[in-house]
């Protein structure tokens, strides 16, 4: 039986993309699998009694070493801010290519804590900073220094000791350009170096908290229980800076979504599900109930989503227990079709992720196809003609070209780059100034303009000749031809409409990172958690791939 890939016009709607969850394809899970056999070392740990100083952690294999360089600084409580406009942080990090020399460390000491206003070199690969979750951090230090373990319930409310507020890579602030490292097999998957940085930062947070407690009370202090450590991740505050990424990298976006869609298609095409595979699916489904119940948020929007997800999961479990026969033919297909008919997107997409769990044989080859050499697809095929372009627009953008952009609500917002922080922002076109400096992120509107512009052009006119008079639409002509070969390259929604929920764009990207515990703080930024439940560096060799569904004591 052949199952069709899901229609991009449905999958690529923002409300659907905003319901995606982590899966076996997610980058932090792939990263751990790919690096589990690498040697790890704490090369330097020079912190004072308050935990301030420098440390270096490394991962090595054969002749390759990646080193996390950490700087922990004193900052006043009123200087601590997760906003991107902050200028001081509790800690600052960079991932250095190789083993840093003393000279490198001194250079980095001057620049890494400055973050965006510092300068890095081609020897550095990623850059980040993090702030303490103060009440959790202090509670842990207090408890450990008194010889006690911290209150688990308190820890689980937050889920981490530190949260990062940005992780930069790919040539920002002088960091190494992608072309310098793109041929390295071990980091060919997307965002591997960013994941490595965050994972090693997590290890540093445990060493630092233990160190401070020990310094505070050398005789009584105990180390943080390893099970507790495993169930603490790294938090992250993420805002609109992340949203344009998925518009600006169409082939990469396609490759992420396509991997997910091919996985689902192949799983639905399995004729007979093995007992063990279905058992694993059911086991993780049940574990998920407990795990999801630990997702805390004050956001009404997210509370509704979590509540709906839990309700739908119970409905699904009931169905599986009472009416579902997994021994029938193509039973995952049957289950998926039942989900589509009876559940909401949030749960459907959660189940899609869960269905992947038993199938390393399907997922692993796809993980290798999730990167993209974007330059290869940049040139416009100018020898093609208007007929080709019109067909692409009518086939791939059929919903988009129906949008009426003469209506105010469909034109409500515009994307711009903030002068203060050089970060993307969203503003109201009718209330805020600056729309004349709009970024080229209103793809739906510009595609519609392109469609109207070619309406009276001859089919035989070449794209090269069309562009001579229409270079103002060059950016969308390029995109249209990309979408011809990359069906999931384009968001099938209006990114400037009044109903836009920017966190849907963030959520999509974060789900591919492998983030959990989405906690929206508004419709424009949210907090998440990464690596919660993940093995520690010392456990990495015996990695259990189900770690992400663990909760403390489960």
């Amino acid at each position: 039986m052949e199952v069709q890939l899901r229609d991009p016009k449905i999958v690529m709607k923002l409300s659907k993309l905003g319901s995606f969850h982590q899966s076996k394809l997610s980058f932090l899970r792939s990263f751990l699998k790919e690096f589990k056999n690498w040697k790890h070392k704490k090369d330097l740990f020079e912190l004072d009694e308050n935990g301030h100083g420098r440390a270096v952690y490394s991962l090595s294999q054969n002749n390759r070493t990646y080193s996390l360089v950490c700087f922990a600084n004193h900052i006043k409580d009123d200087e601590r801010s997760d906003r991107v406009i902050a200028t001081k942080w509790d800690t600052a990090f960079t991932l250095h290519d190789g083993v840093p020399t003393k000279k490198d460390l001194d250079r980095l000491y001057n620049d890494v804590p400055k973050q965006e206003v510092g300068r890095l070199s081609f020897k550095e690969l990623t850059l980040s900073r993090a702030n303490k979750s103060l009440r959790i951090f202090n509670h842990v230090v207090e408890s450990l220094s008194k010889g006690k373990q911290p209150d688990k319930n308190k820890l689980m409310e937050v889920g981490y000791l530190y949260r990062t507020t940005a992780v930069y890579g790919s040539g920002k602030f002088g960091l190494a350009d992608r072309f310098r490292i793109k041929n390295r097999d071990e980091i060919c998957g997307p965002f591997r170096l960013e994941m490595m940085l965050v994972y090693l930062v997590r290890e540093f947070t445990f060493d630092q908290v233990n160190h401070i407690a020990k310094q505070k009370n050398p005789k009584k202090a105990v180390a943080l229980d390893l099970d507790i450590c495993r169930n603490l991740g790294i938090g992250n505050s993420t805002g609109l800076g992340m949203a344009p990424f998925i518009v600006n990298h169409p082939t990469l976006l396609n490759n992420w979504i396509l991997a997910r869609e091919i996985s689902l298609k192949k799983i639905r095409e399995i004729e007979n599900i093995k007992d063990n595979d279905f058992k694993l699916f059911k086991k993780i489904l049940k574990k998920s109930l407990k795990n999801i119940s630990s997702w805390n948020t004050d956001s009404e929007f997210q509370k509704k989503k979590i509540f709906g997800l839990l309700k739908d999961m119970e409905k699904l479990i009931n169905f599986i227990n009472k009416d579902f026969n997994f021994k029938g033919k193509y039973s995952f297909n049957e289950l998926y079709l039942w989900c589509e008919k009876n559940l909401n997107d949030e749960c459907i997409e959660y189940i899609v992720s869960l269905m992947m769990e038993p199938y390393d044989n399907i997922i692993n080859p796809l993980i290798k196809k999730m990167s993209s050499d974007e330059e290869k697809h940049f040139n416009i095929p100018t020898q093609k003609n208007i007929e080709n372009l019109r067909n692409i627009l009518e086939n791939n953008y059929s919903e988009i070209i129906k949008i009426d952009f003469s209506k105010k609500e469909n034109n409500q917002n515009f994307w711009f780059i903030s002068k203060n922080k050089e970060e993307p922002r969203l503003a109201d076109r009718y209330l805020d100034s600056g729309s004349e400096l709009e970024q080229p992120l209103a793809i739906a509107r510009d595609i519609k303009i392109l469609y109207e512009r070619i309406s009276n052009k001859k089919n035989s006119l070449s794209i090269g000749k069309f562009l001579m008079e229409n270079n103002d639409l060059r950016h969308v002509v390029r995109r249209a031809f990309i979408s011809e070969n990359f069906p999931y390259a384009e968001i099938q929604d209006n990114t400037i409409g009044s109903k836009l929920m920017p966190i849907d764009m963030l959520r999509l990207k974060l789900s591919f990172f492998g983030a959990v515990k989405f906690d929206p703080r508004s419709d424009k930024w949210l907090r998440i958690c990464m690596f919660q439940g993940a093995p520690l560096l010392n456990d990495l060799k015996s990695l259990d791939d189900e770690w992400i569904y663990n909760t403390l004591n489960s």
Partner: protein, 202 residues
């Protein structure tokens, strides 16, 4: 050191700021980072061009012919983009001449990309400076100064047919040498090689 990714982004934004469309600005960003990667003074030339762009008029060629001349200097960006867009037609012309091109270094990356697209090396002569553009993989030149070149009187572009750069006898000499690594096969081994024992009409 400023990374190529920073150059790409900043140039893209600067190009939009001086008045180019976003689609063209994207091309300029990639082109300048390409020039810098090849070690040619892209950023320097672009900076000077944008200063001149604010006060002077430049010619925007649209349909490129075999010979192109104008009293007003050609804009290297629009000319470059038009060249790229019309490259399949221009390839048929083999040789194309421009007179009076402003900041011609900025024209180079578009020709370099064109070389990749049509799969032919391109020979470029900017007055006395010579460049060989190799499928967008490398640029070979007799001129390595990193100066700003404000204008070129004559720019000649030649599409080079895919032909050997060596003679047949030079090739044969080398091939004979390579054969010295081969081993004579015994009769028995010949009998068991792929296809042996079958007629080819089965």
């Amino acid at each position: 050191m400023i990374s190529l990714s920073e150059i790409d982004n900043t140039v893209k934004r600067a190009s939009k700021a001086v008045g180019f469309s976003w689609g063209i600005a994207e091309e300029v960003g990639k082109s300048i980072s390409l020039l810098e990667m090849f070690g040619l003074p892209g950023l320097k030339n672009l900076n000077q061009y944008f200063k001149a762009y604010k006060n002077k008029k430049f010619q925007n060629v649209s349909l490129i012919s075999k010979t192109n001349s104008s009293k007003i200097s050609y804009c290297p960006i629009i000319s470059g983009i038009n060249f790229l867009d019309q490259v399949f037609t221009l390839n048929e012309m083999i040789e194309i001449d421009f007179e009076n091109v402003a900041f011609p270094i900025l024209f180079i990356p578009f020709l370099s990309k064109s070389s990749e697209i049509v799969g032919k090396k391109i020979f470029l002569k900017i007055d006395e400076r010579k460049y060989l553009l190799n499928f967008n993989h490398s640029i070979f030149s007799n001129h390595l100064d990193r100066d700003v070149l404000e204008k070129a009187k004559n720019v000649k572009i030649v599409f080079i047919e895919n032909e050997n750069s060596f003679s047949e006898s030079e090739w044969n000499e080398l091939y004979r040498l390579s054969k010295e690594t081969f081993v004579d096969e015994s009769e028995e081994l010949k009998q068991t090689a792929a296809g042996a024992g079958l007629t080819d009409n089965d």
